[in-house]
């Protein structure tokens, strides 16, 4: 199976900011993303859990984005503008993807 080199960007971001992030990365030319729910977590701003919460204020989501290497910088810059003033983390790793024409 031939795999094509790509980058996997994983962003943990507040649910209230998620649509702003996906809008921004779309504008940065990214062709797709996947949003995962988060049960809870901890960081500099303390521990939290989603249980019993009604408000979007207290939740986070994970946005996963597979991109060609040459696009990762544009993506990260766009993402950074959104997360900059917010809590959350961004990580990137190398990966291989099938069906490279999709990215």
């Amino acid at each position: 199976m031939e795999m094509h080199p790509a980058k996997r960007v994983e962003i943990v971001i507040e649910a209230a900011m998620a649509s702003r992030l996906t809008d921004a990365i779309f504008e940065a030319g990214v062709t797709g993303y996947t949003v995962l729910p988060v049960l809870g977590g901890a960081g500099r701003s303390g521990r939290w859990t989603r249980e019993g919460q009604v408000s979007r204020a207290a939740g986070m989501v994970v946005v996963i984005c597979l991109v060609r290497e040459e696009r990762v910088d544009t993506l990260l810059e766009a993402a950074f503008k959104v997360v900059e003033r917010h809590i959350g983390v961004v990580s990137v790793n190398d990966c291989g993807v099938m069906r490279a024409e999709r990215f």
Partner: protein, 323 residues
């Protein structure tokens, strides 16, 4: 009066909230799934909006409706200034966080409103159905006021067009107003069709919802021990009666019924813990959610639920010369 207070404190609703608090403090793993909590809040909004609308359909609307809406708007936009000044005077919380807190106290908590409705129902006091619309109109103006306060202190907030749309058409406002309209349009017939869904089990669902709020409030209090100083806590206990007093003044000016007076007092006294926190995360990300959530959900909400609402009801009854 003491009897009434005890009756309120020992109602299933309040005890369910207390149970949630207790479970959180005992570090029990009791928890209500997020989806179920959201489902219950949708149910409560739909039911309260519908019943308000059906009430309007039955009793008709008078000009006071417009007056009440204007009063709500003014209260929501005005109270943040009082809250801001009071919080700054009582505590060392900085201006940004104080503004964020102020937004919550101008806005409203719909569960406090529901609890007040339930109390006046128990005491057999009638109220204007359109108070639901007043509740809806009070959600957003406080946010504008608070952001203006922030800009005045030279700080920036992240406000884009999206934010205003999110605030104005946020789920709870749309559901409350929408079901109010449905209730008003379908009237008594509509209410009859679905009353065994929205009226009969209402108190019970409210119990479970308050159980959940107790759990969330209790866990929040446990996580954020030490975040609030004595001054901030004092603010959380003083601001509700101040808000209620403003609400009372407005209600007297408008000539609302005793029930309507209680509800406007409760709205003015209450602090948002759903819509405003979400807006603050977007607009003022540097403000600390522990401060405003703990104050609103951990201090002011329990105060209103246990002491505030019965107090407002007693005052309103005294002032209106009612039962």
């Amino acid at each position: 009066m003491l009897d009434l207070a005890a009756a309120n404190l020992l109602s299933p609703i309040i005890l369910s909230f207390a149970l949630g608090l207790a479970a959180a403090f005992l570090r029990s793993d009791l928890s209500i799934p997020e989806a179920v909590a959201k489902g219950m809040s949708i149910y409560l909004l739909f039911a309260i909006g519908f019943k308000g609308g059906a009430g309007v359909a039955e009793h008709g609307v008078d000009l006071r409706l417009i007056g009440a809406l204007v009063a709500g708007l003014v209260l929501s936009a005005g109270l943040p200034f009082i809250a801001y000044a009071l919080l700054r005077a009582l505590s060392k919380i900085d201006s940004l966080n104080a503004a964020a807190v102020a937004a919550h106290y101008g806005s409203i908590s719909i569960v406090t409103f529901v609890a007040a409705t339930s109390l006046i129902d128990t005491r057999g006091i009638d109220s204007e159905g359109y108070m639901v619309a007043v509740a809806a109109i009070m959600e957003a103006p406080a946010i504008v006021a608070a952001l203006w306060l922030v800009s005045r202190t030279g700080q920036t907030s992240n406000t884009d067009a999206g934010l205003w749309r999110e605030i104005l058409v946020n789920g709870s406002i749309v559901l409350l107003v929408g079901s109010f309209i449905i209730g008003a349009v379908t009237g008594k017939d509509g209410l009859e069709q679905i009353s065994s869904f929205i009226v009969a089990p209402f108190q019970g669902v409210l119990c479970l919802f308050l159980l959940d709020m107790g759990l969330v409030a209790g866990r929040g209090l446990r996580e954020s021990r030490g975040v609030l100083g004595g001054g901030a806590v004092a603010f959380g206990l003083l601001m509700p009666p101040i808000g209620a007093t403003c609400g009372l003044a407005a209600a007297l000016l408008l000539g609302l019924s005793t029930g309507g007076t209680v509800l406007l007092m409760a709205l003015a006294a209450s602090a948002s813990y759903i819509a405003v926190p979400a807006a603050m995360r977007v607009a003022l990300p540097e403000a600390n959610p522990s401060i405003y959530l703990t104050l609103s959900l951990g201090v002011t909400f329990p105060f209103n639920l246990t002491i505030g609402i019965p107090l407002y009801a007693t005052v309103a009854q005294a002032v209106n010369g009612g039962g």
